[in-house]
């Protein structure tokens, strides 16, 4: 197994004097696709924000890509972040913003290129390559605000990949997307991992979003690690009933998973 990309040890994070994350131990190995799941308020996004250095732990150790994140500041923190591609849950929704799809994807190269330096031909080649690979070539000169939500999400993934990151973090990448776009995004994550072997950490609410390459689910509840392992082992009927209520059943098939109501008296 590859070395750990994310390691948390006795990690505690507080917000408004309440402990929102309390992990004894968590390791995420390199080259894997790992999903972090749990109910609302479980601490998923807090963990991601801490991994990116946006939230400081109150106690414990957090190492990401061999860096002690809480100890980073200024240019060291900026350099560390350049190694991580981040796809946030909420996208800018300003329809009038005149930035093109190509310009938005190029944001991923901005930090990497460095201050006082213009983009080189190679920078634009990497940007265009990811636009092409994600099927956005025909939209490259369209305004970001004018394309669909699914296309915007793909653009943000292209932006993250143009950074040539060692770790890709996706926070609810299919939020607000219809079924068709959800499947396209899942296929994109699967392809990205198959082609680049990049470490992917995916936060999501729905089992349907897990790509077949996701072999491990980390289940959080009230800030604590509830279970960890393959989706089949973590999402048992008992656990689903305990977390989300009775009347739901879980299906696992061909590496994909789905939770469906049994029918009748769904709670």
């Amino acid at each position: 197994m590859s070395a750990s990309v994310i390691e948390a040890d006795q990690l505690q994070i507080h917000a408004a004097r309440q402990c929102v994350l309390d992990l004894d131990r968590l390791d995420i190995s390199g080259g894997t696709v790992t999903a972090i799941m749990g109910r609302n308020g479980a601490g998923k996004t807090t963990l991601l924000r801490a991994a990116l250095g946006f939230v400081a732990p109150t106690q414990g150790a957090l190492r990401v890509l061999d860096c002690r994140v809480p100890q980073l500041a200024g240019s060291a923190l900026a350099q560390f972040r350049r190694r991580i591609g981040y796809v946030p849950q909420l996208l800018p929704v300003r329809g009038d913003l005149p930035l093109t799809v190509r310009e938005v994807a190029a944001i991923g190269r901005t930090g990497r290129t460095g201050v006082f330096r213009s983009f080189t031909r190679n920078d634009w080649r990497v940007v265009d390559e990811w636009i092409e690979r994600l099927g956005l070539a025909s939209l490259a000169d369209r305004a970001f605000g004018e394309i669909s939500g699914g296309e915007q999400r793909k653009t943000i993934i292209a932006r993250a990949m143009a950074q040539q990151p060692e770790l890709l973090i996706l926070d609810e990448p299919t939020a607000n997307l219809d079924l068709g776009w959800r499947e396209r995004i899942v296929a994109t994550i699967q392809e990205l991992h198959a082609q680049t072997a990049i470490t992917v950490v995916l936060v999501c609410h729905e089992l349907e979003v897990l790509p077949p390459s996701c072999r491990r689910v980390v289940l959080l509840d009230s800030g604590r690690l509830l279970a960890s392992g393959p989706a089949e082992a973590v999402f048992t009927l008992e656990r689903i009933a305990e977390l989300y209520g009775e009347g739901l059943c879980v299906m696992h098939q061909g590496g994909r998973h789905a939770v469906v109501p049994v029918g009748g008296e769904h709670v």
Binding site: L97, P98, I107, G111, V115
Partner: protein, 275 residues
Amino acid sequence: MFDLVFWLPVMVGGTLAGASSGLLGTFIVGMRIPFLGVCVAHAALAGAVFGSLCGLEGQALLLPALGGSIVAALTLGLLDPHRVHLDDNAVLSFLFSATMGLAFLGIGLHGVLGRSDNDVRSLLWGSLNFCRWRDVWLMLASAGGLAAYIVIFFKELRAIMFSRLDAEAAGIRVKAVWSGFLVLVAVVLTVNFQTVGGLMIYSLISNPAAAAFQVVKGCRRTMLVSAGFGAASGLGGFLISAATDLPSGAVIVLVSSALLALAAIIRRARLTAGT
């Protein structure tokens, strides 16, 4: 008879004020903080008022005015939105109220102490018609500084305009780049205020950029078109006012508003035509 020697600096000043405000307006409107113009104006006024109370007068008031506006700009730039849990517009609202309160307190103190506040008032509500070459050179220098900063940090500013969080996550030193930009904005606006007045600058920040957003795509092109719309508003407004004998400031504001309305109509027509 049109006296070109007298009016040339006025025309150049109006064009420069429009172009520089349009240029910086691209990022200010893109970040959805057009209220920044009014906030900086009142911070500059507060600085000038207290400078005047300390005995400064005339052009010397520009220094405390710059001090006030730069402090306001740095407060906005250096505040960490994650920590203060305040939207930029909420911070601007606080800064606007605080600086306006300070400015009016200082103006009141002029009355109490029996001093004239004419210099202070003329700094904020300057008249374009009295713009001279000395003012033009000052405006040119501040606008040149702003343009150079935008050229150097173009890719970073473009990323920040899209999303501050995304830019930070991509490893961009957002606080440093954004604060530097806001300081230059404060300098350009304060220098422009004393020549063309606060209200006109506010219109020249918002309208040309919003109009450019309607008709072009791409950050660089939007910036150039916005600067062009600003310059056209400044110069066109002045020429119309000279021909009709109407107040120049009001006409410039109306020309920039008309450009925005026209751009919105063009965009709607394009969308209807499906192009």
